[in-house]
């Protein structure tokens, strides 16, 4: 199958160039820092709850360690995901390799699938490495694994959406910097658009709230899988990939 060839090539290229190593190192460094700060704060609060037992009832690991960690990681993804996707199409266009890639007997959809799944696999691996943090917590105290898993599902869906948007922007330009910043800009816009809901009312308020990304992350980190959130992510991914496919195909008919 054609998509497997593209998938394997992209994975190889991620690790053949410094991209994967740089993104992995810094993501783990930053997320590790967040985790250690959150965990130190939590252990400090647990100490104090010995003195003042009324605090103790609020000290859930899910609420005070994992939830803030997931929120912070989703913000970090906002910066890191565009760096994973920016090269996918822009680099091939710039170097001309797209001319060969698109003249192999591989459908455009398979090219897109191979590239998207490669980026997604890389991201899933990155996310899997952060499982060390809940693992560490479980060495000291009891962890509720249900909300941890839904939290990871939320991060995975958020990342998959970011990746789809990144791939779309990369397919529109041959400049990697434009692809990276463009994707970041779009994602940031969808991140902050929800703030406008504070001052809006009626339908506008509902729409602004619905399209805002953070609105949909929170439920997962509290252990709730809401179909509205699932629909939001899946439809965003589908739309971005569909538009990417159109932008690829337009090469074949645009005169």
């Amino acid at each position: 199958m054609g998509w497997r060839a593209v998938f394997k090539k992209e994975i190889r290229l991620y690790f053949a160039s410094p991209v994967a190593y740089v993104v992995f190192s810094f993501f783990l460094l930053i997320s590790g820092w967040f985790f250690s700060q959150i965990f130190l704060f939590y252990s400090d609060a647990s100490m104090r709850s010995f003195m003042q037992p009324q605090f103790a009832q609020n000290l859930s690991v899910t609420e005070n360690v994992m939830r803030p960690l997931f929120t912070n990681l989703s913000v970090v993804l906002l910066f890191f995901i565009p760096m994973l996707t920016m090269r996918l199409f822009a680099e091939e266009k710039k170097s001309g390799t797209i001319e060969l890639l698109l003249t192999y007997p591989v459908r455009d959809g398979e090219v897109l699938l191979g590239k998207y799944l490669a980026a997604l696999a890389l991201f899933a691996l990155l996310l899997a490495l952060t499982l060390v943090y809940p693992g560490l917590v479980s060495a000291f105290t009891r962890v509720e694994w249900g909300p941890v898993l839904t939290g990871y599902l939320g991060l995975l869906l958020t990342g998959a959406t970011f990746l789809a948007v990144g791939v779309l922007v990369s397919s529109l330009t041959e400049n990697q910097i434009v692809a990276g910043f463009g994707a970041f800009g779009v994602l940031l816009a969808f991140w902050i658009v929800g703030w406008g809901a504070e001052w809006a009312s009626g339908n506008l308020r509902a729409v602004l709230q619905y399209v805002s990304i953070p609105e949909h992350i929170d439920g997962f980190s509290r252990g709730i899988i809401d179909t509205r959130d699932l629909v939001y992510y899946v439809s965003a991914i589908a739309l971005a990939l569909f538009l990417t496919l159109r932008s690829l195909e337009s090469k074949r008919w645009r005169g």
Binding site: A16, L102, R107
Partner: protein, 330 residues
């Protein structure tokens, strides 16, 4: 095998090619010849399904490049200009990827890759990164990926560019060996390459096809008469008169005097070689022959004549001789 009919491509207001039509029979090697920017690469990009034409039809192996692109792409090997490859992959890994993308069966991949590696003389570079290769090796890796999958049709855009003379000879021999089982269309602006490698020639200039056929056909078409340049020490008028008397001679035009002799351009009908008779005539009359050679028979002359003729036509009507060979100012 390749059939192009009325192909036109416009980039906005710029017309890259206009009403290009030609055909290539199965198993033949055709050279696509033209100055830089004539539209060679544009035509090849359309044939390889990378880019659509504005109008016109192109068929490869019986399939339309626009509506049956996937079928065409299964049957072609394409080497774009400057061989764009992934610099971060080792040669072997790159070729493995191409083999898989072209749908070479898993079990056959290793053998097929080894085969093209050997054919293109890149065995000693297999584990190097593509980006670290010299231009010549990169070009050969590009050719190797085009050959993978054993495509019926090969579209090669300037395959010998950037190679050293020995490599050029090797690659030409390789391309020549493809004739018969493969149909090849290759672009170049190196004229002798076409004579050496190709069965047929298509000359394109400023987006239009100006001549096509085999090399002999083109020469006969552009130069309907055989021409001989000759220098003699003797009285100019007598010599000219005597030359005109030779059977088969159509016209005799004087050339500038040089080396103490008078020069003439003798035109004769193509089917009669008058050189022997000219020599005998000159010596019989007691004049001395300084120089005698045939002119204007190579593809190079054809190309210059055809392309320069076009340019003069389009550029300046009051200077019809611009760019023409000065020798024939008759």
């Amino acid at each position: 095998m390749i059939q192009v009919d009325g192909l036109t491509k416009r980039y906005g207001p710029v017309t890259a090619i206009e009403q290009v039509s030609f055909g290539v029979d199965p198993g033949r090697i055709v050279g696509f010849l033209g100055p830089n920017g004539a539209g060679k690469s544009t035509t090849m990009k359309i044939l390889s399904c990378f880019m659509p034409a504005t109008s016109g039809v192109a068929r490869v192996a019986g399939y339309d490049v626009f509506s049956q692109s996937l079928e065409v792409r299964r049957r072609i090997g394409y080497l774009p200009e400057n061989a764009p490859l992934y610099p971060d992959l080792p040669v072997r890994a790159y070729l493995d990827f191409v083999a898989e993308a072209k749908g070479v069966a898993r079990g056959a991949r290793r053998a097929r890759v080894a085969e093209v590696v050997e054919r293109c003389f890149i065995g000693d570079m297999e584990h190097r990164l593509v980006g670290k290769l010299s231009k010549g090796y990169r070009q050969r890796v590009g050719l190797a990926q085009a050959l993978l999958g054993d495509p019926e049709v090969l579209i090669l855009d300037e395959p010998t560019i950037g190679l050293d003379p020995r490599q050029i000879a090797e690659i030409r021999a390789l391309i020549k060996s493809l004739a018969g089982q493969h149909t090849v269309i290759l672009s170049t602006h190196i004229l002798p390459e076409v004579s050496m490698v190709c069965d047929g020639v298509v000359i394109i200039n400023r987006g239009r096809i100006v001549a096509q056929g085999t090399e002999d056909e083109l020469v006969a078409q552009v130069f309907p008469t055989a021409r001989v340049e000759l220098r003699v020490r003797g009285p100019a008028d007598d010599v000219a008169g005597a030359l005109r008397g030779v059977h088969g001679v159509i016209d005799v035009a004087p050339l500038a005097a040089r080396d103490g002799g008078v020069g003439f351009l003798v035109e004769s009908s193509r089917d009669r070689d008058v050189r022997g008779e000219l020599v005998r005539l000159v010596t019989a009359r007691g004049w001395s022959l300084i120089e005698l050679h045939q002119v204007g028979m190579s593809l190079e002359e054809v190309f210059i004549r055809v392309v320069a003729g076009e340019e003069a036509e389009g550029a300046a009507p009051e200077a019809p001789e611009a760019g023409g060979a000065p020798a024939e100012s008759a």
